[in-house]
Symmetry: C2
Subunit: 493 residues, 2 copies
Amino acid sequence: MELLLPPLDRDAASPMYDQLYDTLRAAILDQHLQPGVKLPSTREMCSQLSVSRNTVLEAFARLQAEGYVEGRVGSGTYVTQDLPDALLSARSVSTRESAPSVETMISERGRQIVESDPLPIRPWSRLRPFYPGIPSFELFPLKVWRQLVDRHITPARAADLFHYGASEGLPQLREAIAAYVGASRRVKCTPDQVLVVAGTQQAVDLAARVLLDPGDAVWMEDPGWQCARSAFLAAGAELVPVPIDDDGFDLDAARRRRPGARLAHVTPSHQFPLGPTMGLVRRLQLLDWASSSGTWILEDDYDSEFRYAGQPLPALQGLDTAGRVIYTGTFSKVLFPALRIGYLVAPDALVEPFRAAHALANRHVPAVDQAVLADFLAEGHFIRHLRRVRAAYGERQQLMLERVRDRLPDILEVAPDPAGMHLVAWLPPGVDDTSMAEAAAEAEISAPPLSYYSIESPKRGALVLGYAGVTPAQIKFGIRRLADVLRSALGTT
Amino acid sequence: MELLLPPLDRDAASPMYDQLYDTLRAAILDQHLQPGVKLPSTREMCSQLSVSRNTVLEAFARLQAEGYVEGRVGSGTYVTQDLPDALLSARSVSTRESAPSVETMISERGRQIVESDPLPIRPWSRLRPFYPGIPSFELFPLKVWRQLVDRHITPARAADLFHYGASEGLPQLREAIAAYVGASRRVKCTPDQVLVVAGTQQAVDLAARVLLDPGDAVWMEDPGWQCARSAFLAAGAELVPVPIDDDGFDLDAARRRRPGARLAHVTPSHQFPLGPTMGLVRRLQLLDWASSSGTWILEDDYDSEFRYAGQPLPALQGLDTAGRVIYTGTFSKVLFPALRIGYLVAPDALVEPFRAAHALANRHVPAVDQAVLADFLAEGHFIRHLRRVRAAYGERQQLMLERVRDRLPDILEVAPDPAGMHLVAWLPPGVDDTSMAEAAAEAEISAPPLSYYSIESPKRGALVLGYAGVTPAQIKFGIRRLADVLRSALGTT
């Protein structure tokens, strides 16, 4: 039989036998070469394609190994007889038809995940000044970190650290975290209650999986952290927006709106993004409610390391005597986000469910990173770094306040915040914060609008301005630019 | 008023004011100090406790900042009047009562997670010879890896790599993976279809979340990978065990048992743990069934890098023209498990749902590790390492076969496997593999029984013996020991 094959490409990256194999396989699958057909002899192929005998033999051997062709002793090579004809033609039809729409095919759960809109791209999403929650990288002790990493990538350590690890985390890191949150946040826990997870995002996701069923109500601070919102929506929960007053999460409003909530997501140390601290009475009331109603409290202590004035309030968890609080913190803010390490402190009864959920999700957090972080904490580098950035961030907040008040006194209203990494800059009443944020984004300034963090429209618009990871020079330049943008957008001069 | 306070501990790690604060706070919360009660003056406290005035002032300031006490000008410090009495007593009651049982409190979903029994502890779970699926760490090029890590922990790179990253993964790693699976596995994909995830465990978990609703049926190879089983069970799926024949996954049996399955989890390149390769006809039938019935195929290509004889069969994914195959691979086997990096290649229509699910689960895989791995692949270290370990593992398998046949010819039946990291060693008919594995574990040998990987009891028992991460000396010693254990357990000599 005469076989018309496309010429092979001598300059291609893939070897000649590979190309010949591909060509013949495609011809068989497309039924240009029908089942039972005899292939040209090795000699014929060599001369037709001007290739070596080895090239043809290699391609034939592979096709035979994979079942596309079969050799009959003394009589050459044939396309496999029992390749089911119907299958082959069904396949060529399906290549022509378009696939059915995916929307009708993924699960209801998958649809909820997509609709929860995690990490959406918005004009202000780019990580540049003044995107909130980003720490300073230029102050990070890279050399120390590198030395600690090098210490663990050695034959002596690899035998342990390269292996599958425990889902709850490395023992030395759990101990270091328990000591740290005990001393600095008065969290009451043993290392056994600490679960090392891939950041607060994972802590929230695990809580949603372990504690919520579809249809369960969740009290969400409004405005609040939009990533937690996505995690609960994806879990099929009903979000109940709870307003924020001077004392933080408004428990009375929450109880009026939906008394039977299964879980409350709260940021009592420094409400995100508005900033108030939940007072003692409110804390006791919330704990009391939780213990009598069976509501879980997810305490998200995302940035309480950064306090510039007064003593930080101890964590809500330390007051909990009924085992209703799941406490979570992160190293994304003090160290760096791409490390993807955070922690969750679970009441004793929840330790095993959370461990199991974590084992299913990603087995464990990379072990070398955990070992490095444990040393970084235990050897005092963490506290030294924290002191250093805390001082810098305090100065940066001060500079932000001065510059905003200097350049935009009539447009943005800012007040000092005793804690955190960002300021809330209130716009004049009636001004739409989303369009201001969009205008700023066009001028390369990321200043998310308060509306972005809100479920119900905020009464007054504001821009959320991160300063921690922004150098003084960038602050000066950025506020000047923001002033130009806002003045031009608002038509003032 | 006379206040009886426990003495403070001068040698404790926590400062004196901290201890005083704790003592007073506990007294208030326990109502030893009732609302409205006047505290002793600073001077009295100093003399009673033999501490400095600053210590007392610091503790008082903190209690006041947190709302436990209030100062009245000129008249001293009082326990806050409006600390709600009922709250405080409710709290002391709840400390005495035991918390309600957690089983009645976590969600149905949480209960399924716990019951799916992820990563259970069994006698044979310890990571020592011959636990399967563990690569060699002593052959790993630690120095190269360390140099690559150091390259990225620098001021120039930190600005990018320390930031929040894309959920789909670093572009350079997605490109390197697409090139690798294209060339070595004939996976047809663009880098846009590649999602970098935290190992195969996460790939399976994301697939369960995106593609399955509770009650959906999943075809599971039986025996098969128990971690995938847990992930599907936790998602509320109905597991349909599908027997394995010489051609792998038995499609006819699957269709008879449950025609409407939503997903099939298959290991066509090298069935886990039995080893057969799915032939071409079976592959085409499975793809045809998937495209006509709307079944998803999760192709788990966990160890096809290790092939010692013949050409590896191309991935099933490369034959899929209907977009029904989700392909997943891992670096746990070629590099090391604690790295926690794997990948998933999704059909175009599923890229966004999988990205969203990954963003919710843990945002992204640590970025420095991704950058290091991308360089390791792009600069040829990966292929060099792979060649090296492939040669070593081939020799180790050979040694295992020799030693087992030498020491246990009448007890264990083994056959060469052209691929993989373990051998299946069949026990004499009628011998219970679980009790043999338990006996081995007591002698420090981890040899999981085939039953452990099975949903329905296997017709004949076997031990699964990993050899890849076991040195020749350990193999010799371990098989001698295993022989002693099995002979003694079976009463043969």
